[in-house]
Amino acid sequence: MRIYDVDISVPMFLGTAQYPSPAILQQAIRVSGCEVVTVSLRRETADGTGAGFWDMLRATDARILPNTAGCHTMQEAVTTAQMARELFATDWIKLEVIGHADNLQPDVFALIEAARILAADGFKVFPYMTDDLIVGEKLLEAGCEVLMPWGCAHRVGSGVARTGCPASNAGAFHGDSPDCRCRDRTAL
């Protein structure tokens, strides 16, 4: 699978949340063979709790996909993406703009606006979106080459299983393979 300008041999991304210990997370990355792991940014405390986690991740050689989890506005998401680019030295960003605090449904209006700003600034945007074909088209027009529909059945561990999720359907974007590759773009 080619994602933006990177060839990925294991088409699975691994989250880093809720592991019992850093050692088990490290082991999970190694055993799974995943080449991409997702990470967050959170408010730092003066005692520097984030440093150890980052040192551990760097030791795995995994490609980092930072996210903008917890952002509820376009401006928050754009600023957090800029902070992540500096901190992780990557232009990849999983763009999340939360519209509903309880079920984490994306605010697709703010999402599209943020995606347009970030893509123009050189980011490789992975938008966390609803399963809406028009939203998908707008995100592609904004410069995204990857779509990440929420709650689709093929996303392991997703909170909401939505079979028939149209934006993840390969046919929706003229795709031709089970991994939802669409045109030269990818829905994850």
């Binding site: 989250g15 880093t16 949340a17 809720q18 592991y19 997370l25 792991v37 997702t38 990470v39 967050s40 940014l41 959170r42 408010r43 730092e44 003066a46 005692d47 520097g48 709790t49 984030g50 440093a51 986690f53 980052w54 040192d55 991740l57 996909l65 930072p66 996210n67 989890a69 401006q75 928050e76 600023t79 957090t80 800029q82 902070m83 992540a84 500096e86 901190l87 992780f88 999983k94």
Partner: protein, 65 residues
Amino acid sequence: MHIIVNAIAHDISTETLDAALAELGFTNPAIATALNGQFVPASARDATELNTGDRLEVLAPMQGG
């Protein structure tokens, strides 16, 4: 000077972002900063002056996603 750091009120005696981070104890190099909602790159912290009422965000890598 009274500023808000990660949503918590602080009184600081320093006047630049770089100095304020040191005064507040943010010694971890793996941090990123934003002032009043705008990203401030590490290279610009020593030239960024603070004002009373400023909102400073200091973020670091965390598990998630």
